[in-house]
């Protein structure tokens, strides 16, 4: 089979799974819905492997294959079809998305086991994977927008999955609204592309753009900036990032799949996909890189002080996506996509471990109450530490190679780009510190009550309540189910976490400076015409970078060890001494308040003005004046309407007689 056939299968299986589960959502007994969902995504993964193998058979210049099922619109100058583009970039993304999704589905089979919305959950989850794959494989901007919007909807549906929780529904709306702002940017960019180049098809657009635009032409910069609005909203970059931490209201597998491993990397993919445009608009690319840098530093500092376990990981996700955005924006495409892949592994792993810990804590998420789980949950503790090591970029782990490759590339380009290397290494230190803030606080120390209970063999079942507000809840549909599931006991969860842990450790081997360059060789099929792609840092500087990165990671871990293991409680003193800084970070740099003040409140005020002045005075005034005038005239002529039929008849006859007389007089 050709690569494109496999491409269609990749999209088709999750869609089929979603429909099958949804149609039978009342009928599927037990865990059948979960198994169907997992099997559908597993089949998509196998198809991705098939596409990968089929592409490898092609010579490098012929690895961009397109296929279209039918035309949506084909008229003068318009060509929109349901077409896919199967090229190395898309296939790498498909492999990452379907691979990680399969494992997360497997994890969810057990984790969501007692939830009353089990089948609904898997139907949504499969639909999400379908949308994401559509986004990735789309062969033109129209289909990209379709996938982009589907993904936004799936994210909304899954964040608000526990729909009786008010915090969850609000978080869903917030995510959706911010994502729609991004969609608008993307749609406007597509309009502009069509106006300038007359086509939506990727390959034609890129080819035309190269011949039509000069470097930094105003139009192409505008197109790229609009694309960036979409990318930033989806990838939670400043200033569109505030939805991601709130999205943690969704079930933990959702956080792992959508808000860590796959959907939020769509922005990175978009920039990589549209790299010919961004290379024609270096200004826009630099803006993107600076936004990425700002996000990665801001998010890393917030992650130092937040106390909600899932939100720490969420800020870490923002920060890591900042690295990827920097990477693909400065031209380190291989490194950016490579980091996207390794990040998907270790961040999904961290979320899964966090889900296991949260279950052991009977649903509570505040890390202040957690400690000493190493004996109660040895397996979870192990994978949590593995995930934290990979996130910190500990030498030898996957995150070590991918993160440094971005930063070394930045240094290699030199000049202004040194800023990214310096900022990136500084944030790497913070990353290592907060990664082990989680690691040490959860795993080491005196066991907390829940950990003790678990050591004695039973899981604590506290009262069911909302972890954010503490409100009491029941366990019917719309709220989390009654049973908690931890990885120590549920086999599917262990398999999923074990597989991801192995990948987090060895995932880096495909791209080690001077040893292997698998990712780079494969991606060449997409990026061969890019000049930046062919800049490869020398081996010496690459190893110098790895050394610096390793040192940062170890220093961060050491500091965390000092503060959380050797002298527990030291951070409390630190917090009291630097209240101002702590509060500033704890309130997330007041971004929510800033958006509130700059956008929300003026919008409300404009609305109120429109209501009180425009609507009540101007519009109502015009309407009331009209009706008033009609009423006054009516009062005047009302007398003529006597109701006597004979009077009307007389008027009629009299009128005609008068008319006839008039014409007689005039004509004679």
């Amino acid at each position: 089979m050709s690569a494109t056939t496999f491409g269609w299968l990749v999209v088709g299986f999750p869609l089929l799974g979603s429909i099958v589960i949804a149609l039978g959502h009342r009928a599927w007994p037990g865990k059948v819905a979960g198994l169907i969902g997992t099997a559908a995504i597993g089949a998509a993964f196998l198809s991705s492997l098939g596409a990968f193998a089929a592409l490898l058979d092609q010579p490098i210049e012929e690895r961009q294959l397109t296929s279209a099922l039918w035309d949506y619109g084909s008229a003068v100058g318009l060509d929109i079809n349901l077409g896919i583009l199967v090229d190395p970039l898309a296939v790498v993304m498909c492999l990452v998305v379907t691979g990680v999704s399969t494992l997360i589905h497997l994890y969810s089979v057990a984790y969501m086991g007692s939830d009353r919305g089990y089948a609904r959950f898997f139907s949504y989850l499969n639909f999400f994977v379908f949308s994401m794959l559509l986004l990735i494989l789309a062969g033109n901007f129209v289909l990209l927008i379709v996938g982009w919007a589907f993904v936004g909807f799936a994210s909304y549906a899954l964040i608000s999955f526990w729909y009786r929780r008010e915090t969850a529904t609000k978080a869903g709306m917030k995510a959706f609204v911010i994502n729609v702002v991004g969609d608008i940017g993307l749609v406007l960019a597509a309009f502009l592309i069509f106006r300038e180049l007359g086509t939506f098809d990727y390959l034609t657009v890129f080819e035309e753009a190269r011949s039509q635009f000069d470097t930094n032409d105003g139009t192409v910069v505008a197109i790229c900036l609009l694309l960036l609005v979409g990318a930033f909203a989806k990838s939670a970059q400043i200033p569109f990032h505030t939805w991601l931490p709130d999205a943690m209201e969704g079930p933990t597998p959702v956080s792992a799949l959508i808000h860590a491993a796959t959907m939020v990397t769509a922005g990175v993919y978009l920039i990589a996909r549209a790299h010919p445009l961004f290379e024609l608009a270096p200004t826009a690319a630099d803006i993107a890189a600076f936004v990425g840098l700002a996000t990665l530093i801001v998010a890393a500092t917030i992650a130092l002080v937040v106390t909600d376990l899932k939100r720490i990981i969420a800020y870490s996700t923002m920060s890591q996506i900042g690295y990827m955005i920097v990477g693909v924006s400065i031209g380190a495409y291989t490194a950016g996509i490579f980091h996207l892949m390794t990040h998907a592994f270790f961040k999904a792993l961290l979320f899964m471990a966090a889900g296991s810990v949260i279950a052991a804590m009977a649903g509570r998420q505040n890390i202040d109450g957690m400690s000493g789980f190493r004996r109660a949950m040895p397996f979870t503790s192990l994978v949590l530490i593995v995930g934290a090591l990979a996130l910190a970029g500990f030498p030898g782990m996957s995150g070590f190679f991918s993160k440094d490759e971005i930063l070394v590339f930045a240094a290699e380009r030199g000049g202004m780009y040194w800023i990214f290397a310096i900022g990136g290494y500084a944030a790497a230190f913070l990353t290592a510190f907060y990664a082990f803030r989680i690691g040490f606080r959860v795993v080491t120390g005196e066991p907390c009550d829940e950990a003790r209970e678990l050591e004695r063999g039973h899981l604590v079942h506290g009262e069911h309540s909302n972890p954010a507000t503490g409100e009491k809840e029941d366990t019917e549909v719309g709220f989390p189910g009654p049973e908690h599931h931890i990885a120590e006991r549920a086999f599917p969860m262990r398999v999923a976490m074990g597989a991801l842990a192995v990948l987090s450790i060895i995932g880096g081997v495909i791209q080690i400076p001077g040893v292997s360059a698998g990712m780079e060789h494969f991606l060449e099929g997409t990026f061969e015409e890019s000049e930046l792609f062919h800049i490869v840092p020398s081996e010496g500087s690459a190893y110098l970078g790895l050394l610096a990165g390793g040192a940062m990671a170890i220093a961060g871990i050491a500091l965390a060890y000092l503060l959380y293991v050797r002298r527990p409680g030291a951070t409390l003193g630190l917090r009291d001494r630097a209240r101002g800084v702590h509060d500033f970070l704890f309130n997330r740099w007041f971004f929510d308040e800033l958006i509130d003040a700059v956008i929300y409140r003026p919008a409300i005020r404009t609305g109120r003005f429109a209501n009180e002045v425009v609507e009540r005075v101007v519009v109502d005034g015009i309407v009331n004046a009209t009706t008033g005038a009609v009423r006054e005239v009516g009062v005047l002529v009302r007398g003529a309407q006597s109701g006597f039929v004979r009077a009307y008849a007389l008027l009629l006859l009299g009128g005609f007689a008068a008319l006839a007389l008039y014409f007689l007089v005039v004509s004679s």
């Binding site: 009516g634 309407q641 006597s642 109701g643 006597f644 039929v645 004979r646 008849a649 006859l653």
Partner: protein
């Protein structure tokens, strides 16, 4: 015969009808008088048609008869409805349209 006599007859019929519509209160008689007025119109049409010598007026007269038939159906229906609801058969007392 000269056309004037037909027209005089038509005018007379029309006046009788109009007068009846204006002075009578019984809806049935008003309806009858309306028919007179319509027929006066038809008579005038046919007279003109004969005097000019083409057939258009006849066609119009036929149409007027059809309209008259329809009008009688509706009018008589109304009167029957009024009668069955025991409303007074006096058009001066039906004044609900007064403004």
């Amino acid at each position: 015969m000269a056309i004037e006599w037909y027209l005089v007859l038509s005018a007379l019929l029309f006046s009788v009808g109009a007068g009846g519509v204006l002075v009578r209160r019984s809806p049935l008689v008003v309806l009858l008088c309306l028919e007179l007025m319509l027929n006066a119109g038809s008579l005038a049409l046919i007279s003109f048609s004969r005097s000019i010598g083409n057939e258009d007026g006849h066609v119009f007269a036929l149409v007027v008869m059809v309209v008259a038939a329809c009008e009688v159906v509706v009018g008589l229906g109304l009167i029957v409805a009024m009668f069955r609801r025991r409303l007074p058969l006096n058009i001066d007392e039906m004044r609900e349209l007064r403004g």
